[in-house]
């Protein structure tokens, strides 16, 4: 066991650091959901793309560099460490694009992947519905296939990036007689099509970007189906596993949250109890970093042991606990502290805290993750279903 990065990996890290130092935006960008902010983000995304840093792990044919899992981890760590702006097209970069790469045809890959990197298309995920949050098998949005077209009717909700998105990867029910996860299809929908209505939906911490998306008789080419019609559950599971992993430097951001907590603990005159709590949290943050490395190791060696549910469930709990303790340490000042957080639009302890609470719900609630661990990993019997 050798827990150090190789000289090549260290060189890659230095190159990135130099580039980020020189080209990274100075100061905070405005919210991407405002007009000036959107252009600022787009400018940054274009700079990344032109330099080949939009998605280094993507194949070079579509604008990446084809680097391996460890280099991708280094990229994510440095991106987070430099506190660079949240990626405008994160749903496309982390979930949508990789799902197309895993299950799409060559035609589909060449049609959609470049637009994600240039931000010509901004992607969002269309899984959740009012009656289908964690229970995706309850999806009711329909896709009736009529010749070369699929007619989509229904509603998606809690759609992140929804108010700026142009493209949705969605689960729709193509077999009206079907129940559960049979009869679902994974399809890419152009949100600029007639019959699509996007309504902004507020989030409790005030951060915009959420939306409800309504479809009435929206015509989508059947060629936009990823994988087979009716096999959407299987295709979506790739995307869900990606969403639950440790990707995108989440361990680095967690460490930053811990450093923020340590600073605030010191600044407010560290009591014995707060030092002890800081120590407990620091231990779990360290373990979470090792979990990120272990899961990168699994990807890099192609063994694919699945830690996703453990990482998602416990990682979100640790992050919330760090923020929770920071609120405790700051006391009433937690309401007004404005200089925390890696994301331009996410300033303030309370926003970070509430965002962490949200993370315990999204990407399959933590209760669902516990069921997955219990049933798939421990082999306990399935919960009886009605």
């Amino acid at each position: 066991m050798d827990l150090t990065f190789t000289p090549e990996q260290q060189t890659f890290r230095r190159e990135l650091q130099e580039w980020f130092t020189e080209h990274g935006p100075k100061g905070r960008l405005d919210s991407p959901y405002s007009e000036p902010g959107y252009s600022q983000h787009l400018e940054w995304e274009h700079a990344l793309h032109e330099a080949g840093w939009a998605a280094p792990s993507w194949p070079s044919e579509v604008g990446g560099q084809g680097v391996d899992a460890w280099a991708e981890l280094i990229y994510d760590e440095e991106y987070a460490r430099f506190r660079l702006p949240e990626r405008l097209n994160k749903m496309g970069l982390i979930h949508g694009g990789p799902t197309v790469m895993a299950h799409g045809t060559e035609q589909q890959k060449s049609e959609w992947l470049p637009g994600i990197l240039t931000c010509e298309d901004i992607w969002c995920q269309g899984f959740s519905e009012p009656g289908a949050g964690s229970d995706l098998a309850a999806v009711r949005t329909t896709g009736r296939i009529k010749g070369d077209a699929m007619i989509v009717d229904g509603q998606k909700i809690w759609t992140s990036q929804g108010i700026i998105a142009t493209t949705m990867f969605a689960l729709v029910r193509t077999d009206p007689e079907s129940r559960g996860h049979r009869g679902l299809t994974f399809v890419i929908i152009d949100l600029r099509s007639p019959g699509v209505e996007i309504r902004p939906l507020g989030q409790l911490h005030g951060n915009p970007g959420f939306a409800e998306v309504f479809f009435s008789g929206v015509e989508v080419p059947v060629a936009n189906v990823i994988g087979e019609v009716g096999d959407g559950w299987h295709v979506a599971s790739t995307s869900l596993a990606l969403e639950r992993g440790t990707a995108r430097g989440s361990h680095t951001r967690m460490e930053q949250a811990l450093v923020d907590l340590a600073r605030d603990t010191a600044a407010t005159g560290a009591s014995g109890a707060s030092v002890r709590r800081l120590g407990e949290l620091a231990a779990w943050v360290a373990a979470y970093e090792q979990a990120a490395y272990a899961s990168t190791h699994e990807i890099a060696t192609g063994r694919g042991k699945d830690y996703a549910s453990v990482i998602k469930m416990l990682g979100t709990q640790i992050l919330t606990a760090v923020h929770e303790e920071n609120l405790e340490v700051l006391g009433a000042d937690a309401e007004v502290m404005a200089d925390h957080g890696p994301n331009a639009e996410m300033y303030g302890m309370r926003r970070n805290y509430w965002h962490g609470r949200g993370a315990e719900i999204y990407a399959g609630s933590n209760e669902i993750q516990r069921n997955i661990i219990a049933e798939r990993q421990l082999g306990l019997p399935k919960e009886p279903r009605g």
């Binding site: 827990l3 990996q9 010191a266 014995g272 120590g279 090792q290 490395y293 060696t301 082999g379």
Partner: protein
């Protein structure tokens, strides 16, 4: 970055697992409860036969010059089978203390005997009121302030303590004036020894916790209540999933700490403390869930679950408890700002 154990390390652990699987079955452990020494000579012979006491002994003293990472999986096996012997002390902290802090003469006098199994060492880093396995050990390494000392147990007064876990043998040791020798390199070695203790004990706790949960999962698959096996109830599943997640995530840190301690990394001590902390949290939750989900049968003397429950609780305290470790980590985080 290379984060898996080497094949030789896995093979060593698999060999040990086979040996203790045969020698430390619950009925054998129970039989030892009433034995005067409480120790199985066969088990110690197996440990020596596999060369385990020599692994952390430097090569110039007749050992293998290995590191903690070579024994990490073995220590998990110690926990998994609730091996009663104080093996963390005999195989890890004892040899490391003598190797790192001993004078050339002390190293020569003690370490080759440890390596070949003719001398058995035990360790007390937190006082002499409750020293493990003093009755079967030849020498004791203990801490006094910032010093590490070594003493031949033959000249000491050793009084057995009554303890909750009938497998453990704990002793109050009285060291006669002038009998002990200071290990001259203590100042530089104490942190290293403490790091070995924290990371090594974390490995034992991980194995122990995993065993409690494995046994509880097996029980939840067969025990029926309200016409269903209890493992189908979410209230039960979620407790097992929570404990499993903690053990799994703690394992990542425990394995990393073993490698960092073995490699004398700059952050070895921090990693070791963090490993012990997360392993303690995982052990606490596994212990709680295991008894709770076994219900009344788990509280029954005749049921074997108690072997792990009581060992777990003893080891949660024995090598620095949650509060002490967390205080130290917290202070280290603040010092790094």
């Amino acid at each position: 970055m290379k984060i898996a154990f080497e094949p030789e390390q896995q093979a060593l652990a698999a060999g040990f697992e086979r040996a203790v699987g045969a020698l430390a079955k619950p009925e054998a452990l129970r039989a030892l409860w009433d034995d005067e020494t409480g120790r199985s000579p066969k088990l110690w012979e197996a440990v020596v036969g596999m060369g385990l006491p020599a692994i952390l002994v430097p090569e110039d003293c007749g050992g293998f010059g290995g590191g903690l990472v070579d024994l990490a999986l073995v220590l998990e096996s110690v926990g998994r089978h609730a091996v009663p012997d104080a093996l963390l002390e005999a195989l890890v902290t004892g040899p490391v203390a003598l190797a790192r802090a001993g004078s050339p003469e002390q190293r020569e006098r003690w370490l080759s005997g440890i390596a070949d199994g003719s001398q058995r060492v035990t360790v007390a880093l937190r006082g002499l009121a409750s020293v493990p396995d003093a009755h079967v050990s030849d020498l004791l390494v203990y801490r006094q302030g910032d010093d590490l000392l070594v003493v031949d147990l033959e000249g000491c007064t050793v009084t057995r303590q009554t303890v909750m876990d009938p497998s453990r043998r704990q002793f109050a040791v009285e060291v006669p004036e002038g009998a002990a020798e200071v290990l001259p390199g203590s100042a530089g070695a104490l942190d290293i020894v403490l790091a070995h203790e924290a990371a090594g004990s974390a490995s034992v706790l991980i194995g122990l916790s995993q065993r409690m949960i494995d046994d509880t999962v097996a029980y939840a698959k067969v025990r029926e209540q309200f016409g269903r096996v209890i493992g189908s109830f979410q209230a039960v599943k979620h407790q097992l999933a929570d404990a499993t997640a903690r053990i799994q995530m703690a394992s990542f840190q425990v394995h990393a700490a073993a490698a960092k301690v073995a490699g004398d990394a700059d952050d070895a001590r921090f990693a070791a403390l963090a490993a012990r902390q997360v392993a303690l949290d995982a052990a606490f939750e596994a212990n709680r869930a295991a008894l709770q989900l076994h219900g009344g049968i788990g509280f029954t003397w005749e049921h074997d679950l108690q072997i792990w429950l009581k060992r777990g609780k003893a080891l949660e305290q024995a090598h620095g408890n949650r509060g002490e470790i967390a205080d130290e980590i917290g202070a280290a985080v603040l010092a790094r700002l």
